[in-house]
């Protein structure tokens, strides 16, 4: 009897995550641990944790971690990566963190083209604090602070922050993926591998936006939440490659 799916090396053993049943964070944590192992960078990896549900990611990933203030993940990652260029720096952030309170840090770290990787978990609500409306909330989506649905006249439109930073010349790689289907999970792993390789080669900023189900705050079952990601959320935030400037950056470097 051979175990086909070995426990990832950089995922702590004997832990059960605090995430709700069907949450996408667990899948993304596992993918990060697997890719760190495959690319053999786990020993020098440093994860910057956000404020949000993933605040306790250091309980699950067996790598070095710094806890950041709300939204300041990429600012801390910048400091770490500039002070110690040998480290492999990942900033793990949610949509309330990266696209609301941390917009300034996100925009400017991307514009400077820092050599860091950002994993952006987009679930269209503030998850940890109880499902309030986030900048990424879809139009007409009900949340605890928009019970009648998001109204464009009152609250504006969903913010496509990854599309914004993808336009910057400093951003070498940006992709949007989902973890709501097995095919999407495969693509997520591919995208995270590409993003990590971008940083290993020193080509600049890489960002992967992951559309992730949040069954508890969407008041759905895990399965309905996955369907909602595919049917509703993917229409507003279209998965796919947003920018790939790795080839020209390689030429510039050579």
């Amino acid at each position: 009897m051979k175990l086909e799916n070995q426990w990832p090396k950089y995922y702590k053993k004997n832990v059960v995550t605090h995430y709700c049943p069907g949450c996408g964070h667990g899948i993304v944590h596992r993918i990060i641990a697997e890719v760190l192992e495959e690319l053999d960078v786990g020993k020098r990896a440093l994860l910057v944790c956000p404020a949000g549900c993933a605040v306790l990611a250091y309980h699950y990933l067996d790598i070095d971690v710094i806890e950041s203030a709300h939204g300041r993940g990429t600012a801390i990652a910048t400091g770490v990566s500039r002070a110690n260029p040998d480290l492999f720096v990942i900033s793990y952030q949610g949509d309330g963190d990266l696209s609301a309170i941390g917009t300034a840090e996100t925009i400017h770290s991307a514009n400077r083209g820092e050599n860091i990787t950002v994993i952006f978990i987009n679930n269209a609500v503030y998850g940890m604090t109880g499902g309030q409306m986030a900048p990424t909330t879809l139009l007409d989506q009900g949340t605890t602070t928009s019970p009648l649905g998001r109204n464009a006249a009152l609250d504006g439109y969903p913010l496509h922050i990854t599309d914004v930073v993808a336009a910057f010349p400093g951003v070498a790689y940006a992709e949007r993926v989902t973890v709501a289907t097995p095919g999407g999970i495969k693509k997520t792993k591919k995208a995270i591998t590409n993003a990590f390789q971008t940083q290993i080669e020193g080509l600049g900023y890489s960002i992967v936006e992951v559309l992730s189900p949040c069954p508890t705050n969407w008041k759905m079952t895990p399965l309905q939440a996955c369907r909602w990601v595919v049917e509703e959320m993917s229409k507003e935030y279209k998965p796919g490659l947003l920018t790939d400037k790795r080839e020209e950056k390689r030429k510039l470097k050579a």
Partner: protein, 74 residues
């Protein structure tokens, strides 16, 4: 030995499972089902209903957010 000649066995780490049901839904072979019993966290964990139908596609291990599924081959 090719994948076709292997025999696959699915096991669930019972106390890791939160009963989200994604593995049950995404399994094309209907190998898994929700148990009538509960685990230590009070969730109806997944359990193999037809273990002999498993073809080793590993989709259950991929969609599980909690690393609760183990697939063995022999």
């Amino acid at each position: 030995m090719s994948k076709k000649d292997k025999v696959f066995t699915v096991k669930i780490r019972r106390d890791y499972c939160k009963g989200c049901g994604l593995c049950i839904e995404f399994c094309k072979q209907d190998v898994l089902q929700a148990s009538a019993n509960m685990n230590s966290m009070g969730y109806h964990y997944a359990e193999p209903a037809q273990p002999e139908s498993c073809i080793g596609c590993m989709i259950c291990t991929m969609v599980c957010p909690d690393l609760a599924v183990e697939v063995y081959s022999e």
